[in-house]
Symmetry: C2
Subunit: 166 residues, 2 copies
DNA sequence: CTTTTCTTTCAATATGTATTGAAACTTCCA
DNA sequence: TGGAAGTTTCAATACATATTGAAAGAAAAG
């Protein structure tokens, strides 16, 4: 397989992988393109290489910056902006994890915390409390685990992992 | 907050959480409903409580069975089928993890494995190989970690966690 | 065998989300 | 200050996916 095809395949796969996990396809594809570019590229490059509109490219580049996965850079003598992805895969994983934890896990943990003390002594009420309690426990552990793992703190991670599995 | 509202909130939240992670809303809601029901319920119950069509209910119940999150049960003297969710949250997490690993992580690992040895000595080719290699490494570690963690094998999990973070 | 009850399928349709592209906006330079 | 070059916004639209509901299929009962 030549480089051109391989790049194409990678971009498609990253897009598919992203959308299976609730990240929009274009955002993932823009990210993929930046990951495998050896130097910063412009909005125009993104549009051309992925065949997407200016608006789409702009919107997703900004989203990626918001997620700390991409930086704006300037080339001297150039008016337009260039974009460059974080290339350290550990950092990439960390940033993605942190964002998603914040956006989707934390709100769930907060809700479960409230729902644990709904009143009632019927079997339905008891069943409900048990489930919300158990889920609250699990999600909190996961939250803590991710919290520390995103700090690359091995000791903490392993310790938290043990706790999670106790 | 009374039980009725709490149940409603939980079902909505689980649905939202699911769809943020690429699991369809109805499937997550059906799952939520089963999780907080103290006894097995019928397709009719699911339709009524979630206001969804028979086809939708049937389809998602089967999907949940496919994921090993729900079992069919029979009530003596009853013609129709009843459904019951796995209530052990650890098992729930395990089953979900295992399914998604199989469906989405493994194919990516396989592709990255191939892409690592694309030929060429240009900066683009080198950059590409480095990225696919690094991602292959990370995803493989994650794959291994999940593999063992879903077996509730603490020793392995912690060991794998250390390796992941080395 | 016929009817009743329940389950499954799937083409049609609805719904939610992503994408476009042109206009508005901003910044830089002559 | 005018205009060129680039960026951002957002209403309109396209697209993908989920959902419906009626019809076909299966299984048990009469």
């Amino acid at each position: 397989m030549d480089l051109k095809d391989a790049r194409e395949q990678f971009i498609q796969a990253w897009g598919t992988f992203g959308s299976a996990w609730g990240i929009n396809r274009s955002m993932a594809q823009v990210h993929a393109l930046l990951l495998i570019s050896h130097e910063p590229i412009s909005t125009e490059d993104v549009m051309d290489q992925l065949n997407i509109s200016r608006g789409n490219a702009n919107m997703n580049l900004r989203a990626l910056i918001d997620w700390s996965l991409v930086r704006r850079t300037m080339k001297s003598g150039e008016r337009r902006e260039f974009f460059e992805a974080e290339k350290d895969v550990w950092k990439v994983a960390t940033h993605i994890t942190r964002e998603r934890k914040k956006r989707e896990l934390e709100p769930l943990v907060r809700l479960l915390d409230e729902l644990e003390d709904v009143p009632g002594s019927t079997p339905e009420a008891k069943s409900f409390r048990k489930m919300t309690h158990d889920l609250h426990d699990l999600t909190t552990r996961l939250d803590t685990l991710l919290d520390h793992s995103t700090r690359r703190d091995v000791q903490w991670f392993v310790k938290a992992a043990s706790t999670l599995l106790k």
